[in-house]
Symmetry: C2
Subunit: 205 residues, 2 copies
DNA sequence: GTCTATAAAGTGATAGAC
DNA sequence: GTCTATCACTTTATAGAC
């Protein structure tokens, strides 16, 4: 094999590990499976990382940093006026479409959270993961307000947390039941509720 | 060791496994750890069960069947009239109090769901688990309607699913952040939303 | 029935040749 | 740097003495 710098090797191993975790789960992501995915020898793993836990830290940080807004497609400027209720509904649909498009990824994200919650000393990684979720949700809420000319009546951080609560619950229930119709009903309900409780239009202010 | 019937041994092993899974997680619940918890030899395990997977099936069925309504304390008849909004809020609080009282149990329930979702052929167990959650939620909603003299405007099965979505999301976020105040805000929001959208009082009907 | 002992396969990590 | 070979340990499961 060609000589690869330690940093490149680390990056390649993390990318391989991400694929393995999504495809086969955290428990199956052993060092041997990961190096096979990366096309390396087992010894190369421990040349790049001192331990499997060290890779796991880098892995979680990588997927968390790479987390992008699944709500974005619904937040494009549209012709004519658009209601907050409809933007929230469309944003939830965008999120849900992303879940349906790659269920293994979502399963993996939950598994990583729970792995971090169990592994002594790794709880901060789970916190970081959720801080990122909250931040992504909050910026989507801010964009939605700008798009509709409204203002959130409660602190956006508070509503963001509610939104993450909702998307987590929605995702788990769907991963278990695969019931698209039930998911749609949940999203309708949530959009109606957010419309009634969460914001005021600027013209009302 | 005294002679124990196979069925008794199975039951004892399942009870031991439940404790181990709650305390140390699914991944740490090896046959050795489980038999140690039950005070048996390793060979006794395979006398009672043909495989670890067979125990896992029985384990999940046991915790799912034993699932009781965490909403119940809030559904006791009270003096004077009580609004649906307040019953929902109190029910969520009862649920949340149970989570706070035994976080390891909740962590274990999520882990078991995800284990079943990953293990080939075990998805039906995860379905069963959520069917039970939905049923528990639905009966709580029916009891709440009776208590307040109201009627749900949508099918209770639909609202039950929303309720489970909410409690799942609430639980995960709290397990990660341990933020009681944020959880309270989420519950307030959810109670307000359910009050505005989900039911009609019988006097309106 | 219940045990000890062990098989067979997997794990993370390392030594040492090249 | 990169490899093969291996260590020390753990896993599920079983054989066979009692």
């Amino acid at each position: 094999m060609p000589r690869i710098s330690a940093v490149d090797r680390r990056a390649a191993l993390v990318r391989a590990a991400v694929r393995v975790v999504a495809r086969e789960g955290v428990a199956a992501a052993t060092t041997r499976v990961i190096v096979a995915e990366a096309g390396m020898s087992l010894a190369s793993f421990h040349y790049a990382f001192t331990s499997r836990d060290e890779l796991m830290v880098e892995l979680i940080n990588a997927v968390v940093d790479g987390e992008e807004s699944a709500f974005a497609p619904a937040l494009q400027p549209a012709e004519g006026g658009v209601t907050m209720r409809d933007v929230v509904r469309a944003g939830l649909q965008s999120f849900f479409d992303a879940v349906r498009a790659d269920p293994d990824r979502e399963k993996a994200m939950f598994e990583l959270t729970q792995w971090a919650l169990r592994e002594p000393g790794f709880e901060p990684l789970a916190r970081r993961q959720y801080d990122r979720y909250f931040a992504v949700a909050e910026s989507a809420l801010t964009a939605a307000a700008a798009l509709t000319g409204s203002e959130w009546r409660r602190p956006t951080a508070e509503i963001a947390r509610m939104l993450v609560t909702l998307t987590d619950g929605l995702t788990i229930a769907w991963l278990v039941t695969r019931d698209d119709a039930a998911a749609a009903t949940t999203m309708d309900f949530a959009a109606d509720a957010s419309g009634m409780l969460g914001y005021i239009s600027l013209s009302d202010a």
